[in-house]
């Protein structure tokens, strides 16, 4: 009976945050899907494919009470309202310090790569950007970690990749990978 009462009425919400903003790239991990492990420095691989796993730094801000006037169910919600996105990613660029995939060094490779949140579900850059939450959409974990697939084995050599993410306010977040030697 007590459980029924609790489930019916709910418990006071602890509140949440108003907004979530992508603030930076926290880290880029090189993951070898054939070995099923991340590569650590000095990194070398003979795999046909590598994944760059991008972890973003998210700032949540401005405490938000989960309350909608006139609706008791919202006032006594089990979960606080979702944070809204305060910015959105408008472009992702990938550069390499060496010529790769027929492109010169320091050329944007994004159009030749695929992006996604799972290894087996990858999209083109345009479709991936469309799938990310826009400004004032609910915060989505998809923005926190995503993958860039280097799905073609390049020439033997040592490569350093640079990832640039740009938001709707013109902020550009930059991160480099560790050097990876492709055998």
């Amino acid at each position: 009976m007590l459980l029924t009462i609790v489930l019916t009425i709910g418990v006071p919400s602890c509140g949440g945050e108003d907004y979530a903003a992508v603030r930076d790239i926290r880290q880029v991990i090189i993951f070898d899907p054939e070995l099923h492990q991340p590569l650590i420095s000095p990194a070398s691989t003979s795999s046909d494919t590598l994944l760059l796993i991008i972890s973003t730094e998210i700032d949540f801000f401005s405490y938000h009470e989960a309350y909608v006037p006139g609706t008791m169910s919202e006032a006594w919600a089990f979960r606080p309202a979702n944070a809204w996105m305060a910015n959105e990613i408008t472009d992702i660029r990938v550069f390499c310090d060496q010529p790769i995939y027929g492109q010169p060094a320091h050329h944007n490779l994004a159009d030749q790569l695929t992006f996604g949140n799972a290894f087996d579900f990858q999209l083109s850059l345009g479709m991936f950007l469309e799938s990310l939450p826009d400004i004032r959409d609910d915060y989505d974990f998809a923005i926190r970690d995503f993958q860039i697939s280097l799905n073609t084995k390049p020439e033997k050599g040592t490569y350093i990749f640079t990832i640039e993410m740009e938001d709707n306010n013109g902020h550009v977040f930059v991160a480099n990978t560790i050097p990876v030697e492709w055998l």
């Binding site: 907004y19 801000f61 405490y63 938000h64 400004i135 306010n169």
Partner: protein
């Protein structure tokens, strides 16, 4: 009704109902302390002087406040806080057996400065938000109040004054010395929170009420 009308007219024309009462002449100066402000989240103290004439008085008061214990700071301001206020006022005094009624007005200016870190502010007019590493938040207020009250005499030296008032405040809230600002365009507060007013940058005018309790010491 007619009596009330005459009373109001006398207030504004400066005519005294008890012009012969000499008590104000005998104790023309008072030092007044406002102890209740020590109970604020950020403890303040107010001290001032009052010069009394036959049926009027002029007074001024200076207030200083700070947070003595940072761990008690609530609602985001996370660091040192300082507050200054100057008030000037005038009263029309009506004597009674145990003290004096008064009616008057005052103008005040105050400025608060607080250190904040790892916070956000919203520019309401510009419709943008700024995440910041640390900064100073300033709030200035120009206040104009009409007030009335009563001052009880406690012996010849001391008094307790209570008052209440209604007025207007022009409030300006701004930030400076912002380090590592991260601007987010097209962002407004999802919900206006009275307890988080320091987060809203801009200038606005609002109706305000005031109340006070002063301990007076006659010189």
């Amino acid at each position: 009704m007619k009596r009330n009308l005459l009373f109001l007219i006398s207030l504004f024309t400066g005519l005294s109902l008890n012009a012969q009462d000499k008590r104000a002449f005998h104790q023309p100066f008072q030092i007044k302390v406002e102890p209740l402000e020590l109970g604020y989240d950020y403890s303040r103290i107010g001290i001032g002087i009052e010069k009394k004439f036959m049926a009027h008085s002029l007074w001024t008061s200076f207030h200083y406040g700070t947070n003595l214990d940072y761990s008690q700071a609530r609602d985001s301001p996370s660091g040192h806080f300082e507050y200054y206020e100057v008030e000037l006022g005038a009263k029309r005094i009506l004597y009674s057996d145990y003290g004096e009624y008064f009616f008057g007005g005052n103008v005040g200016f105050d400025k608060g400065k607080r250190y904040v870190d790892d916070d956000v502010y919203y520019d309401i007019d510009g419709k943008f938000a700024v995440l910041l590493e640390n900064a100073y938040n300033y709030r200035t207020r120009l206040s104009l109040f009409l007030e009335n009250g009563y001052e009880f005499y406690i012996g010849k030296r001391f008094s307790i004054e209570t008052s209440a008032g209604l007025g207007l405040r022009s409030v300006q809230n701004y930030y400076s010395y912002v380090t590592n600002p991260f601007r987010l365009n097209n962002i407004e507060p999802r919900e206006y929170r009275k307890k988080s007013q320091q987060k809203y940058v801009g200038q606005w005018i609002k109706v305000a009420v005031t109340g006070g309790l002063k301990l007076g010491w006659r010189i």
